[in-house]
Amino acid sequence: MNKLVFFGGKGGVGKTTASSAYAYHCTEKGEKTLLVSTDPAHSLCDIFERKIGSRITKIKENLYAFEIDPEEESKKYINNIKKNMKDIVSPIIVKEIERQLDAAAVSPGSDESAVFDKLMEIIIDYQKDYDRIIIDTAPTGHTLRLLSLPELLGGWMDKLIEKRKKAMELYEMATREDKKMESIIEKDPVLSKLNERKAKMERAREILTDGNLVSFVFVLNPEKLPIEETKKAVNTLEKYNIHIKELIVNRILPISSEGKFWENRKKLEDKYMKEIDEVFSNKQLIKIPLIDEDVKMDNLRHISQYFEGLD
């Protein structure tokens, strides 16, 4: 596996369990590991039974965790803009604009962008401090969306830059006579902000599609819906040139399932296991059984043993 490992999958299949266990496995090998959760409904704190939040928290030797808080991140971003604005805009307008900024901070798209920005910041800033960065993502839809963001937003940024340039060029033409200074296009702060943002998007896209830096792992259960969703997700990711090599099949029933109900379940499961083996025959499958207690720090070691075959 590569330095950056994303764990994805349908809701409730055990992404957090799998990513925590894999993180544990990495620390046992002596790698300094950072485990990041991008799911707004964080559950790392429940597994490790301690407060984590949006700062790097040491869990144990070589194991660190971080839960990205979208609200906090977008608030930071907005406050920064407000501070910046006070130096530029007259105080009368500031009040009006501040109201608009506050409204925008709670709009639905903001959380997603805030999480994306923070994740990229963490990856870029801490890449050299850690041997391994593991990302526990929100359910599949979110993850796919997250990955398509740079592509989508990059396109918009291009359009914005083009429009702004055209407007400025015309403006410059219309006012040429009284201005013999350097080109207004070159010192337009709007254009430079847009270009900065575009460069960041480009960098994010490069990182996420770098096959030598990033691995994606999907977690699924031997049941109908998770299998179907995983098939679709694998295909979608292929489109973004992201290839999945490993799958984690979680919550496999023990062989000795007593009672009519469990025997039937097991039979059903066998069918789905066979389907998984067939459909994903070109992937490495890591099979983790269902355990009879809550996942906590002390049984992570036990679960982490199933990752033995992974590098």
């Binding site: 977008s74 900024l101 709009s107 914005l160 055209k166 015309l170 006012t175």
Partner: protein, 93 residues
């Protein structure tokens, strides 16, 4: 005679363009420029009018630089009777 007429016409055209009588060409360029500025604002802050813009979060950081224009833009665009009419260019020049 024909020839002289042609020379005179050409000279008239030349002078018209060179000295821009009635600032006609400037007027057109200015109008076009303001229209483009308005369109740019629409792409950035369409959210304020209820038009979803995927980059809305990122264009917020442009607000400090565009804030002065924002109020006028909103007024203009709200007052538009059609998408084509009543643009900034139509107001000022």
């Amino acid at each position: 005679m024909e020839n002289r007429r042609e020379i005179f016409d050409n000279l008239k055209e030349f002078l018209k363009s060179a000295f821009d009588f009635k600032e006609n060409s400037m007027h057109h360029i200015k109008k076009e420029a303001y229209d483009e500025m308005d369109n740019f604002m629409l792409l950035c802050f369409g959210d304020l009018l209820g038009i979803p813009v995927p980059t809305a979060y990122y264009t917020l950081e442009l607000l400090p630089y565009l804030a002065e224009d924002l109020e006028g833009w909103e007024r203009r665009i709200m007052a538009r009777k059609s998408v084509y009419g009543d643009r900034w260019g139509d107001f000022c020049c």
